[in-house]
């Protein structure tokens, strides 16, 4: 089994390195095929490992080699395949295999074809390290690795200023959060003496609550950065500057869920500090609604889906914060499937529409892109949580968790958000695929994408359809051997049915409303002048706020540091020291007039000074003073002489 572990881990790396060799060359189809094949190998290996774990096999724990061993600190390159990481491995390898094959079609005409595949595989490798590591240090390597690949891929079209800006924004925001994460890790090592999950978690039972709370908060700030939770959320929507397969893989299905994975992985920690957990859940619910509200009005197809991702991440954090770790992980998995599908569908639409992103310029595309229409609708239905698609089983479960745990406010927020989710998803579907063909006025000629791309997407469509009812049972059985096995059942069957059917009805109504309202894509001037509309379309003015109150003051501060501190203090003192030597040399180079007599005089003067000093120090300071006066007079006389 170890062989499969290493195969799953290292085949993306090999693919990345090989594709990287051809990075500067023009497109070679081989790199795409090669990396996709290796990714498929990783997928097969992960499946074998999954089957092994599902059959109740032992957790596979290997140590590749020692990384750091100094004093009491011991950090190995250790990898573990247990019930949690195998789920993540499946999600990562499956979605990335699909995305790799999809990208062969999507990046067909791109100059950076080979480079793209190198980055993409490097991302998968980093993500695999992140989920498979058996200690926090290894997780952090993967964490930074995915951050780097995310930066590379958002800024993939680096000739576009907006893309490089977005890449830097994502990177910097993540750095802020990573600092907190590092502090959390240091604290863990400080209190438990180890960064290995099993040792550290076992030690936590003997640590006081204050310290645990601090650790929990710092780790969660790290998770907030990666998972783009408020107030570090702005980078995710801007990250849509990257190629669409990247958005599907990194900014929807895998990397942004790393924060949720961290909380799930650290469940023994968060179990001990329910207050922090409750904060996580509250923030999650807030972000769910907050992000959904921005998706309601946005006119950029990819941004709408990005906000939807943000919103669903909020759901996951609600579950994780309330201690329902397996529910969070389940939603993570289901969400990865249908959200990746949604993004890939959006990519098809973009290709058909020459990279047009405004859904108000589309309409009626279902005639031209039947399969994309079907798949995106399927994904949206799953996202909305309609029975029996994947979203129903995972998302409604989170609602139930909130209800059973008696957090009725969270429940209400999540319920409203579910309606909003249904609304904005079908607003998008309606605008793109239904109604009149508005794109004709703009001179577009939409066409369906390559067949192999559609076939590559089909596994995701099937999973979005069946992942819920097919896998839920065996998933729970497997994962709850590792995670707290709390059952979330509403005791009264009447309440249960009212809630389930009620939710379905509300969601269904939202869908119907969205269809009706946007079928003709009329832009209502009255709504657009509305205060709330302005608030939402400007993303609650938060990017504006950051610009005005953080970026600009920081720039001012930097200017002061540059002009006042650096130039006037640091540079000035360095230049000053250099100047002293320069001026001294300038003033004394006349001494070297080449005349032997002068040199001899200086020599005598020097000897005399030394002699007098020697005498003075043995006889008294009065003599010293005398010596100085005599010496000064003599030297002065010499100076006058050579100036003449």
């Amino acid at each position: 089994m170890e062989f499969y572990l290493y195969l799953a881990l290292f085949s993306p790396l090999v693919g990345s390195l090989v594709a990287g060799l051809f990075g500067a060359r023009p497109k070679t189809l081989l790199t795409g095929l090669f990396t996709s094949t290796l990714l498929f190998t990783a997928l097969v290996s992960s499946t074998i490992l999954l089957v092994h774990i599902l059959d109740g096999g032992d957790i596979i724990h290997v140590e590749l080699m020692t990384w750091m061993a100094t004093g009491d600190l011991y950090i190995p390159f250790g990898f573990v395949v247990d019930q949690v990481s195998v789920v993540m491995m499946m999600v990562v390898t499956l979605v990335s295999t699909v995305v790799h094959i999809y990208s062969i079609g999507y990046m067909d005409h791109d100059k950076g074809f080979n480079r793209f595949f190198s980055y993409l595989s490097a991302f998968v490798f980093s993500m695999m390290i992140l989920v498979m590591s058996d200690n926090f240090a290894g997780l952090f390597i993967g964490w930074e690795g995915v951050g780097l690949c995310s930066w590379l891929l958002i800024g993939f079209w680096y000739h576009k200023e907006s893309a490089t800006w977005a890449a830097n924004e994502a990177f910097i925001m993540n750095r802020i959060a990573d600092l907190a994460m590092l502090i959390g890790m240091f604290l863990i090592y400080w209190t438990t003496g180890s960064l290995q999950y099993d040792i550290a978690f076992a030690e936590f039972a003997h640590v006081d609550v204050e310290t645990l709370t601090t650790i929990g908060i710092f780790l969660f700030i790290g998770a907030m950065g990666k998972s783009a939770q408020f107030p570090l959320h702005t980078w995710l929507a801007d990250a849509m500057e990257g190629p669409t397969p990247v958005s599907a893989l990194i900014h929807a299905a895998t990397m942004v869920t790393a924060g949720v994975y961290l909380v799930v992985r650290a469940n023994p920690l968060y179990d001990l500090i329910p207050d922090v957990g409750y904060f996580i859940a509250s923030l999650g619910a807030f972000v769910a609604m907050f992000a959904a509200s921005m998706a309601l009005v946005n006119r950029d197809m990819k941004r709408i889906i990005a906000y939807s991702t943000l919103s669903q991440l909020g759901y996951m954090f609600v579950a994780a914060g309330l201690g329902a770790y397996w529910v969070a992980l389940f939603h993570l998995m289901a969400h990865a499937f249908f959200k990746a599908l949604l993004f890939l569908g959006a990519g098809n639409v973009m290709h058909a529409m020459d990279d047009e992103l405004d859904p108000f310029k589309m309409g009626g595309l279902k005639k031209h892109m039947k399969w994309t229409w079907i798949m995106m609708t399927l994904a949206s239905v799953a996202l909305a949580g309609i029975y029996p698609l994947a979203g129903f089983f995972s998302k409604d479960l989170i609602l139930e968790v909130a209800f059973v745990e008696h957090h009725y406010i969270l429940y209400a927020v999540l319920l409203i958000t579910a309606m909003m989710t249904a609304f904005y998803s079908f607003r998008l579907i309606s605008l793109i695929f239904h109604g009149t063909e508005r794109h004709k006025q703009h001179g577009f000629h939409p066409h369906e994408t390559y067949t192999f791309v559609l076939i590559a997407m089909s596994p995701l469509a099937i999973l979005a359809l069946v992942a819920g009812f097919l896998f839920k049972g065996s998933y729970i059985e497997m994962v709850t051997t590792l995670l707290p096995a709390t059952e979330y059942h509403i005791h009264s069957p009447i309440v249960f049915w009212i809630m389930t059917i009620g939710t379905q009805l509300l969601v269904g109504l939202s869908i119907a409303y969205a269809y009706r309202k946007y079928e003709h894509a009329k832009i209502d001037k009255k709504i657009e002048d509305n205060f709330f509309y302005k608030l939402l379309i400007n993303q609650w003015y938060i990017p504006h706020f950051y610009e005005e109150y953080i970026t600009k003051p920081y720039r001012e501060l930097s200017m002061i540091a540059w002009k006042q501190v650096d130039l006037k203090i640091v540079d000035a003192s360095v230049d000053g020291i250099a100047n002293i030597f320069y001026k001294t040399g300038e003033a004394t180079h006349n001494m070297q007039d080449g005349n032997l007599s002068t040199m001899l005089r200086w020599m005598v003067a020097g000897t005399a000074v030394l002699l007098i000093l020697a005498v003075a120090f043995t006889t008294g300071y009065l003599m010293l003073l005398l010596a100085f006066i005599v010496g000064y007079l003599y030297v002065n006389r010499l100076r006058r002489e050579y100036v003449r």
Binding site: D593, G594, S597, V604
Partner: protein, 102 residues
């Protein structure tokens, strides 16, 4: 008749040293510079010999011999260089030797 003590020798040595020093500093003729150097060295030699006699220790006189030997070799080399310089430039005035000007 006054007895000649150690201090007389040392005073003589000092006076000679001072004369030599002034000569070294003031003379511009290279040959005279050599003379002045000789005076300096021999002033020191007087000191060595006198103190050696005073303490009844032969080390000082040994030292004086070494100084004489070194002075001789110095003059031999120095005069050789001086002659070459005179052949080239036609004078041995120090003020004209400024090729090392900084």
């Amino acid at each position: 008749m006054m007895e000649i003590t150690l201090s007389h020798y040392l005073i003589l040595s000092t006076i000679l040293f001072a004369i030599g020093l002034v000569g070294v500093l003031k003379r511009t003729n290279l040959l005279m510079l050599f003379f002045a150097t000789e005076i300096l060295l021999n002033a020191v030699n007087i000191g060595f010999a006198a103190i050696s006699r005073y303490y009844g220790d032969l080390t000082g006189q040994m030292f004086a011999f070494f100084v004489i030997a070194i002075a001789a070799s110095e003059v031999a080399v120095g005069l050789g260089l001086l002659i070459i310089w005179f052949k080239r430039s036609g004078d041995i005035d120090l003020t004209s030797m400024t090729s090392m000007k900084g």
